[in-house]
């Protein structure tokens, strides 16, 4: 059950990002809900598991978009690995940890995407508006983080997302 839910969450996030959130975008910017789920998973399950989950979620997003396949997979895996290093060193039950994790993760993920995009500069037009988008997106991510983190933490400790040894 845990495995199914973990697989469904990024799919639900992609669906919501491409429909509901796209209709309520801030200046055309949508939140990265997939990243939010990856960060939560990494915060609660550690660096290595987080990186694996980030890789799969990012790859799903890339396959849906169909362009630069691997860009999100790599950036989300690396982001999750770094954020996952905080596991056990912070009070995960505090919602502020989730919010700070999402702020740090959003900026980190954007930097990594920027580096990867820069490597393909010939076909990718980079300018100031990208940085503005990153700020808007980090803000949007924080807005959706609080309610989701409360549920995610509870579910990971006592609910459907609790690790039981089942795969």
């Amino acid at each position: 059950m845990r495995f199914i839910l973990l697989a469904l969450l990024p799919l639900l996030a992609i669906f919501l990002q491409s429909t509901l959130f796209a209709s309520y975008s801030i200046k055309g910017v949508v939140p990265d809900m997939v990243l939010v789920f990856v960060i939560f998973y990494a915060l609660l399950n550690g660096a290595e598991k987080g990186a694996r989950y980030g890789l799969i979620c990012g790859l799903l997003e890339d396959l849906y978009t169909g362009r630069f396949i691997g860009m999100n997979a790599l950036s989300k895996a690396a982001t999750a690995y770094i954020i996952g290093k905080l596991q056990g060193r912070v009070f995960e039950e505090n919602v502020a940890v989730g919010i700070i994790g999402v702020i740090l993760g959003s900026l980190l993920n954007a930097c990594l995407l920027f580096i990867l995009a820069f490597a393909y500069f010939a076909v990718f037009n980079i300018d100031r508006s990208l940085f503005i988008n990153i700020i808007y997106q980090s803000f949007y991510n924080i807005v959706i983080t609080t309610p989701i983190y409360l549920w995610y933490y509870q579910s990971s400790k006592r609910g459907l997302l609790k690790e039981t040894g089942e795969r």
């Binding site: 796209a22 169909g66 990718f124 300018d127």
Partner: protein, 286 residues
């Protein structure tokens, strides 16, 4: 360092990195065919996206129905007045059209109007799931005769181009996307040519490579130049907002306000075919 090289995980990470960098390179441009995995993933979302899109349209209908009677009466009155104005304008335009046809015949020019397009109407069912690309998903795919590269328009102007298709959906790259470039011309002067490129924003485009001697004024209409094989000539793109000199002093660039409201796109038309127009004897009779 040597410790790292000896670890299995190091080689696994390095292998994945190389695989994904190759994949990125392979998928960086537009592809005629998408993989089976992508097709299955995209088509599996279609019923849900269609459902939500239909629900949204239904809710809009309900909210309109709930508006007060007076408000609706006021709107009808306004629309009637607008309709009268447009009918009058239409009459004048018909006159201009006939005149233009005659002029074309005289000059032996090729005609370029909507009669030469085969259009397929499609609903927008989803948008880009991230902020790096400006894409929309429409509810018509390869099963409906949609092919990669076909231009997409709506009543206001150029929307974008089909970047890839699955059986029941197609992905449209909007002209606001950072990777898009469209040959454009200022409609009135006909002499100022340039390239329209996306800036990744929904409400702004940039026209580059305009020669420094060009006379480009604010609010001038920009249309497709027809020099590219992808877009038919004359489709509206937007209006000039501001013009500035490039640092090299030889070229100008202009900020263009798009004619299409990309945030509010609900229906679009795919040009499935546009024929190279020829002046025929039937045309001559007109």
């Amino acid at each position: 360092m040597f410790k790292l090289v000896g670890k299995k995980s190091f080689w696994a990470v390095l292998g994945l990195l190389v695989i994904f960098l190759i994949l990125m390179k392979y998928s960086s441009g537009t592809r005629a065919e998408i993989t089976v995995v992508e097709r299955v993933l995209r088509d599996s979302f279609t019923p849900l996206q269609n459902g939500l899109s239909g629900l949204k349209r239904g809710l809009t209908g309900v909210s309109t129905g709930l508006e007060s009677k007076q408000e609706l009466a006021r709107q009808i009155e306004q629309l009637k007045r607008k309709n009268n104005d447009l009918s009058l304008e239409n009459q004048q335009l018909r006159e201009y059209k006939a005149e233009a046809k005659r002029m074309r015949l005289l000059l032996n020019y090729q005609q370029d109007n909507k009669e030469q397009y085969d259009l397929t109407v499609a609903q927008v069912i989803a948008r880009q799931p991230n902020n790096w690309f400006n894409l929309i998903t429409i509810d018509k795919g390869s099963a409906d005769g949609i092919l990669q590269g076909m231009p997409v328009i709506n009543a206001d102007g150029l929307v974008g181009r089909i970047s890839n298709t699955s059986y029941h959906t197609a992905q449209v790259t909007l002209i606001t996307d950072r990777e898009m470039a469209v040959g454009a011309i200022i409609q009135n002067s006909r002499e100022t040519q340039g390239i329209i490129e996306g800036m990744g924003e929904t409400n702004s485009l940039r026209m580059i490579n305009i020669p420094y001697y060009s006379k480009v004024g604010k609010y001038e209409r920009v249309v497709c130049s027809g020099l590219s094989k992808f877009y038919p000539k004359g489709i509206q793109i937007g209006y000039v907002q501001a013009v500035k000199k490039e640092s090299n002093g030889l070229l100008l660039s202009a900020t263009i306000s798009p004619a299409v409201a990309f945030d509010k796109l609900e229906e679009v038309m795919v040009i499935t075919q546009f024929r190279s127009p020829v002046v025929t004897s039937a045309n001559k009779k007109e």
